[in-house]
Amino acid sequence: MVRLITHNLLACHVKGCNTNNFPLQFKDVQIELREAEFNPDFLKGFMPKLEWKALVDAARQLGDTTLPLEQPEMLDDEFLKNLHHVLLEIHVEEGVMTCSNCKHEYPVSNGIPNMLLAEHEIG
């Protein structure tokens, strides 16, 4: 399932594609919203590992503008609920993720991103 928590980890791994290969850009996406249990302690523990700008940009590509451009100092409930929604409740079901650098396209089908490469593309 491609939720933004997963998208925030994925990078292009085509042979020789080592710079500007993260984050992948969404295109032609179909999304579904599914409620998930709110766990503020998980979010607080996970936040330091996020690439924040990539998350905010990806959320905006999917039409969610609730997150601030900078990680806030104060983690109030409203912010954590917005973060929860963006990370864990938006599911990309279909679409394409494109590398900004080499333009390789990784398809998302039935909620599963396909990160497989052909033998000659592997670094």
Partner: protein
């Protein structure tokens, strides 16, 4: 008589051999296979239970995703992302736990690097690396796991099948005379019964042979040593500042190295000098 485990040898390109003798078979047997793999093993469950809240991890070769819902006593405390080469198994893994919760899964190869470097806090690879057909590829798989986790605090757990089988195991492993510490390549039959194949199937049950490399004693820890050395990591417990030679700044410690229920396993912890 039930089909037996047989010794085998790899012919041709390893990735082509694996495609035919591992990946294609898992896609074929996915629902039946999944129905026989539901109970988490205790050491793996204990490892996952010990992880701090907010950690994110990779299950490399997740199969039917049976470890994705863990820990059961703290659901949602950590997030494990499942990676596998079998789309049919991933379609099952998406719903692992049958709680109505959708799991994050990715179609990919365990030798790939579709992640930003050190993106994860932990990685597990359970009963997967033994499906790779050469020593070199198995070593690369261990390197990929270490590279996937934080150099500062990353933890890794690996399980592979052992030549030394449990007394309760129904399998006997043919070991040709001169294997030493290099393990044994075998094929293990999977019998798809008529019920599994629906009504159009022939009367004979279909037997599909999956490739395994059965590990010898010391072989898995040897792979870890070689992988650590190739990644420029000190193998052993964390060194203090001043204790380490100038050239050493990062390392990996093997905190467990054991055998359980016909499997060898290792647990690794990464460390980094400040």
């Amino acid at each position: 008589m039930a089909p037996q485990v047989q010794a085998t040898s790899i012919d041709g390109e390893p990735q082509v051999y694996e495609e035919k003798n591992v990946h294609a078979i898992y896609d074929e047997i996915a629902p039946h296979f999944s129905s026989t793999r539901y109970k988490p093993w205790p050491i793996i469950a204990a490892f996952i239970s010990s992880l701090p809240i907010g950690w994110i991890g990779l299950d490399s070769g997740t199969g039917n995703g049976k470890y994705l819902p863990l820990p059961f006593d703290r659901p949602g405390a950590i997030c494990t992302i499942g990676l596998d080469r079998s789309r049919n198994l991933l379609n099952i893994a998406k719903n692992a736990g049958n709680t109505g919760k959708i799991r994050d899964v990715v179609l990919g190869d365990i030798l790939g690097r579709g992640w930003r470097v050190a993106a994860f806090d932990y990685a597990i690879s359970i009963a997967t690396i033994h499906h790779l057909a050469t020593h070199e590829r198995r070593k690369t798989a261990v390197k990929r796991l270490i590279e996937a986790v934080s150099p500062n605090h990353g933890r890794v757990l690996i399980y592979v099948w052992a030549i030394e089988q449990d007394a309760l195991s129904k399998r006997t492993i043919p070991v040709d005379g001169a294997t030493g510490t290099r393990g044994q390549d075998v094929v293990v039959p999977w019998v798809l019964s008529r019920q599994d194949k629906g009504s159009q199937a022939s009367t004979e049950p279909q037997v599909l042979n999956r490739y395994y490399h059965m590990f010898a004693k010391g072989e898995l820890s040897g792979l870890v040593q070689d992988a650590a050395s190739e990644l420029g990591l000190q193998l052993g417990p964390p060194l203090g500042l001043g204790e380490a030679p100038i050239s050493i700044s990062r390392g990996v410690e093997m905190v467990q190295d054991g055998w359980e229920r016909s499997n060898y396993y290792v647990e690794l912890r990464c460390w980094e000098l400040p």
